[in-house]
Amino acid sequence: MFEIRIHSRGGQGGVTAARLLALAAIHDGKYATAAPFYGAERRGAPIVSFVRIDDKPIRVYSQIKKPDMVVVLDASVMDVVDVLQGLKSGGKVLVNSQQKKEFGGYLSSNVDLTGIALKEKLVVSGNPILNTPVIGALAKMGVVSVDSAKKAIREMFSDERNVTVAEAAYKEMSA
């Protein structure tokens, strides 16, 4: 089982990203679950959502404590939350950022999702859309296939620019 924890702020699309990723994994012929962890927190507060991907049906409902991968949609949450908590040694970290940041003992990558969304003017009520480009980046990292990623995005969004940004993120991903 491959377990991913996504960090974002309320309203940034972290839950939708989890859902897209799970849907793409299902299109790859795998089993997947996506779970938002709800708190009493409101808009703008740091939140986490979880994705599990496996070859067998998933029977675990408890929270992910030792993820294989951590995705940070908003780098500013790293100031208030320990995003590496429980991450398996050698695990992967993907950060939405222009600069690469090294995390000792982990495989770090970065991509400027915000920049990619802004370039396509993919902005909803002032917030650049991050949940579709991040799927492109995750496809580059081999979490899901490119075809399934696009298929999932097209099922959930009618605006084709969502696919464009995913492709852009795929191309721009560092390593």
Partner: protein, 371 residues
């Protein structure tokens, strides 16, 4: 088509297949998405139901009662305090023999306000005459809701059915969902005693001491008859749509020496614990109770050590499931109270309950230091 949906969405999708004529419901966390989704289906013309946005749950159930007695199909959904507020009317629905279907998203009870999963809400309804089923996956939430309509409306049953799913753990989790076209799986609603102005009858009026108990017995008789109807319905469902369900879901029980019993998502998570224990050489199995009313026979537990995990409690008596199981099997169990108010319980915790079991005792996970 391969879809992904939350447990709430799956229930709403099932309702869309069953097409109740009237839906009356009231929002409450974590069920609200069901109500919102149905309102959206109706508003968009995808579902030809009348949706009554009542002012309380008491009124939601009362509206379903008023609609149902005219002989049509009805649905509502609630959770926790909503269900408790409905309690007078849930009794009425069963006593009046109305095949209403309700989804209850299991949530704890206040005070203090806590919106997380617990089974005490629906278990407080267990003596009302409602059939109750507890589900553990998004797919099962969908399938059970569809079957609920057929079972409730079957003329050997004519009792309301409650489909229970765990708050957040299932209501808000996204899993794969296969939707079906049900075709004639649910026959048209036929209520033999529907209101008919051409044949005026009084309903639910004064009833004397020599009549009332007979009506109560009739509820019990139908409850017993429902066993066969449930079996038939689940069999036909498996034949048509390929997914098989039963009164319980048994995992590695046959050669097991110790069996974990639980309901809902915890019953699924327990299976992972069993895999863990089997690797350690412990012959363990798990049994997930699906139908709580009518209660399953549980012969399979005979002669085994039983560990019951209750996400609920009856103060002054014990875990409700544990109590029911002991009454049924006439055996002592190891009773663990875990998951109250959304308390996190992992498969590793469940495995630990089994390793440290002490048959004949009860512990509260996180309170007693035994487990």
């Amino acid at each position: 088509m391969k879809k992904i949906a939350t447990g709430n969405k799956a229930v709403a999708e099932a309702v869309k297949q069953a097409v109740p004529t009237v839906v009356a419901a009231y929002p409450i966390t974590p069920q609200t998405e069901i109500v919102e989704q149905i309102a959206e289906f109706v508003s968009g013309g995808e579902l030809k139901s009348r949706y009554i946005p009542v002012e309380s749950e008491h009124s939601a159930m009362a509206a379903c009662i008023g609609a149902s007695i005219t002989g049509i199909r009805t649905f509502t959904a609630t959770s926790s305090h909503g269900l408790l507020y409905m309690h007078e009317m849930t009794n009425w629905a069963a006593g009046a023999r109305l095949p209403i279907v309700m989804a209850n998203v299991n949530r704890s009870i206040g005070p203090g306000w806590n919106i997380w999963a617990e089974h005490t809400d629906s278990l407080q309804e267990r003596d009302t005459g409602w059939l109750q089923v507890y589900v553990s996956t998004v797919q099962e939430a969908y399938d059970a809701t569809i079957m609920a309509f057929r079972i409730a409306e079957h003329n050997d049953v004519l009792l309301p059915v409650m489909v229970n799913l765990d708050g957040f753990l299932l209501s808000h989790i996204m899993q794969p969902l296969d939707t079906v076209e049900i075709g004639d799986f649910i026959p048209p609603t036929h209520l033999p005693y529907a209101i008919d102005v051409k044949n005026p009858t009084g309903y639910g009026g004064l009833t004397g001491t020599e009549e009332h108990y007979k009506m109560r017995w009739d509820i019990e008789r139908s409850m017993r008859d429902s066993v066969k109807v449930i079996e038939e319905t689940e069999k036909d469902f498996a034949k048509r749509f390929g997914r098989r369900y039963g009164f319980t879901e048994n995992y590695q029980c046959d050669d097991a020496e110790v069996i974990v019993v639980a309901m809902g998502t915890l019953g699924k998570e327990a299976e992972v614990a069993i895999d863990l224990l089997r690797k350690e050489g412990i012959k363990a199995g798990s049994l997930r109770i699906r139908w709580l009313r009518p209660f399953p026979n549980l012969k399979i537990l005979k002669g085994k050590q039983v560990v019951v995990v209750d996400r609920d409690y009856s103060f002054g008596r014990g875990g409700i499931l544990a109590t029911e199981i002991m009454a049924q099997t006439k055996e002592e169990v190891f009773s663990v109270i875990a998951g109250i108010g959304g308390q996190e319980v992992t498969f590793e915790d469940v495995a630990e309950f089994v390793r440290k079991r002490r048959i004949g005792t009860e512990v509260w996970f996180g309170v007693s230091n035994n487990v």
